[in-house]
């Protein structure tokens, strides 16, 4: 028993280390090596993604059908991941949808705390099969208004600012029936 006690005392649970300051790095007191990789890509998007982005530029959301699965898929792809057949007919969808799930982010990309949360979530797009849509921001609402199942509508960038990107939609705002 005494042996066990001694052992406990000789191995403290917490050993304070030596703090490293960024100054130590600048002054090269810390041995290090540094490399900035120049890794750049330019991905070819293929017919489905290209068409989807072109349509966003035109202010429209387009999907594609899998006739075997009777599924309207958005974002569109050239093949169906469920039945493994090629997809076929293009179909324009509404720019409204339903919030599938969401989160309020109190940290920015640099992990800095922010006062007003960024509202982000997944939206199922109207006209597509259930659970088909994409992730986006929410705006023109208070954080406490955001609910699963809530109807939302896309707020587009002005036409001359669109560039064929998912960010051609600025965010989704609350959608009340009848409103266009």
């Amino acid at each position: 028993m005494t042996e066990k006690k001694e052992q406990k005392e000789s191995y403290p649970k917490y050993a304070p280390g030596t703090h490293v300051h960024d100054k130590d790095i600048y002054e090269r007191k810390i041995t290090y090596t540094w490399w900035e990789p120049e890794v750049q890509y330019s991905w070819s998007l293929g017919p489905a993604m290209s068409r989807f982005l072109q349509e966003l530029k035109a202010g429209k959301i387009i999907g594609i059908k899998c006739n075997r699965c009777r599924r309207v898929i958005v974002p569109p792809r050239m093949f169906c991941e469920y039945c493994y057949g090629p997809t076929s007919d293009w179909v324009y969808l509404k720019d409204t949808g339903t919030v599938e799930t969401f989160s309020l982010s109190y940290l920015d990309a640099d992990a800095r705390r922010i006062e007003e949360p960024i509202l982000i979530g997944v939206i199922s797009i109207d006209g597509a099969s259930p659970k088909h849509g994409f992730m986006h921001y929410f705006g023109e609402m208070k954080p406490e208004e955001l609910k699963i199942g809530m109807k939302v509508k896309a707020v587009w960038k002005p036409e001359n600012e669109r560039e064929g990107s998912i960010t051609d939609i600025k965010y989704f705002k609350p959608f009340r029936g009848g409103e266009e």
């Binding site: 540094w34 900035e36 890794v39 890509y41 070819s44 792809r77 469920y82 493994y84």
Partner: protein, 414 residues
């Protein structure tokens, strides 16, 4: 352990220097779909396990594994990615089938090299960051659209040498190795140039090859030195393309009624990464081949094997690999080449597909492209480049600069 493993399906895309009309997912889908049709299997119910061979840095994604199930038919099915050449996927499939856990396995590998804007920098990123990258230095490259701009406040980072003239492209390593090979075996640069001439000629009869050409030894010799003794034409240019294989146990293969092509031997090996310590004789190929010969019960490889596809991403590599694998005596490969032994009509046809010099360097798809040629030849579907009566063929791939790793697969007609 008595289960035998067969190749039951092969599929591939065309190989092109660039494919701006197709997404990487779509070239994968095309190759896989063709291999599944070839095998007569429905991936959504008949294939038990899926393997993709890919490297995150080639793709530009972290955890690339997560992006593959859709296009290979593997959504919510057993699926994994091997970070290595496609030929390693065949070895993994072999082992999975041998265990009896699965009967049918799909293996895919591809290259979308044209999506990379900074290929040299990406290869350089594979070098040791402490000892090798600072010597090599940042790679000089054209100013592509979207490149980061450097200013006085944000200067271009330089580690080690700060003299622009001293920067080296990472392919310099092949120059070191070729120099060593030539000296050790008394092989000449002209003989290496003959490999390029042969393979680019073979590629004329391969419909999917992209770098077929009618050139002479003089053409290769007069192309500019890039990493002396390596000249521009000694290097296989990059290419886009995808290859897919379906493998199964013998019983399943027989039930499907496909022609039986056995994967009868497989081996793989890796060198130490220390450039100064490791040999320059492709010992990885020697070890991998020995392992594969043993598994396939091959005692006299040169006599028993009818056809070979070996890694030729640099011209000398074909000769070096043949010797390393015991398919030629040390220093004898160049002589075999000169005597026409390695020609399509020779007694030991090598790289009938055109190899990487004729098809293009398809990165991680290289080993599968080589295996594809062997299986096509054993099936007797190789058209104008068909080697009559080929029964046993060997495919070998190296993982490319700066690796010291490689694998070997032996196929046998049933």
């Amino acid at each position: 352990m008595s289960r035998k493993v067969c190749v039951i399906g092969i599929g591939h895309t065309d190989f092109n220097s660039m494919t701006p009309d197709m997404q990487w997912k779509e070239i994968m889908y095309e190759a896989c779909q063709k291999s599944y049709v070839d095998a007569g299997v429905d991936p959504r119910k008949d294939i038990d396990s899926f393997i993709t061979c890919a490297e995150d840095y080639w793709e530009g994604f972290s955890i690339f594994d997560e992006f593959v199930p859709d296009q290979i038919g593997a959504v919510l099915r057993p699926c994994c990615t091997v970070c290595g050449d496609g030929i390693y996927g065949l070895g993994n499939a072999y082992m999975q089938i041998k265990t009896g856990i699965v009967d049918v396995v799909a293996v895919e590998a591809h290259s979308k090299a044209s999506d990379m804007l900074t290929y040299g920098d990406i290869v350089l990123f594979a070098y040791d960051p402490i000892f090798e990258r600072p010597i090599s230095g940042p790679v000089e490259r054209p100013n592509y659209a979207g490149s980061p701009s450097y200013s006085k406040e944000r200067p271009k980072p330089l580690v080690g040498s700060t003299d622009e003239k001293e920067r080296i492209h990472p392919y310099f390593l092949a120059g070191l190795e070729m120099q060593h090979y030539l000296r050790k075996t008394n092989t000449t640069e002209e003989q290496c140039a003959s490999v390029v001439v042969k393979n680019k000629k073979n590629a004329f009869n391969n419909p999917y090859a992209d770098y077929e050409a009618k050139i002479s030894v003089d053409d290769v010799m007069s192309s500019e030195y890039l990493f002396k003794p390596i000249k521009r034409l000694d290097i296989s240019p990059n290419v886009d393309g995808a290859v897919s294989f379906v493998l199964a146990d013998e019983k399943t293969a027989k039930n499907l009624g496909v022609e039986l092509i056995y994967l009868s031997g497989f081996g793989w090996s890796s060198e130490t990464p220390w450039l100064s310590t490791r040999g320059m004789d492709a010992a990885y190929a020697t070890k991998a081949a020995k392992m594969a010969y043993k598994m396939a019960g091959i005692l006299q490889p040169r006599k028993e094997i009818d056809i070979a596809e070996v890694d030729d991403r640099f011209s000398y590599k074909e000769l070096q690999h043949l010797e390393a694998m015991g398919l030629a005596r040390p220093g004898e490969a160049a002589q075999m080449l000169e005597e026409g032994v390695l020609d399509v009509k020779g007694s030991f046809p090598t790289n009938t597909s055109g190899g990487s010099l004729g098809v293009g360097n398809s990165l991680e798809a290289t080993g599968l492209q080589k295996s594809l040629e062997i299986v096509t030849q054993l099936r007797g579907y190789a058209g104008k480049r068909q080697v009559p009566g080929a029964e046993i063929g060997i495919a070998q791939a190296w993982r490319g600069i700066p690796s010291g790793s490689g694998a070997v697969a032996i196929f046998k007609r049933g």
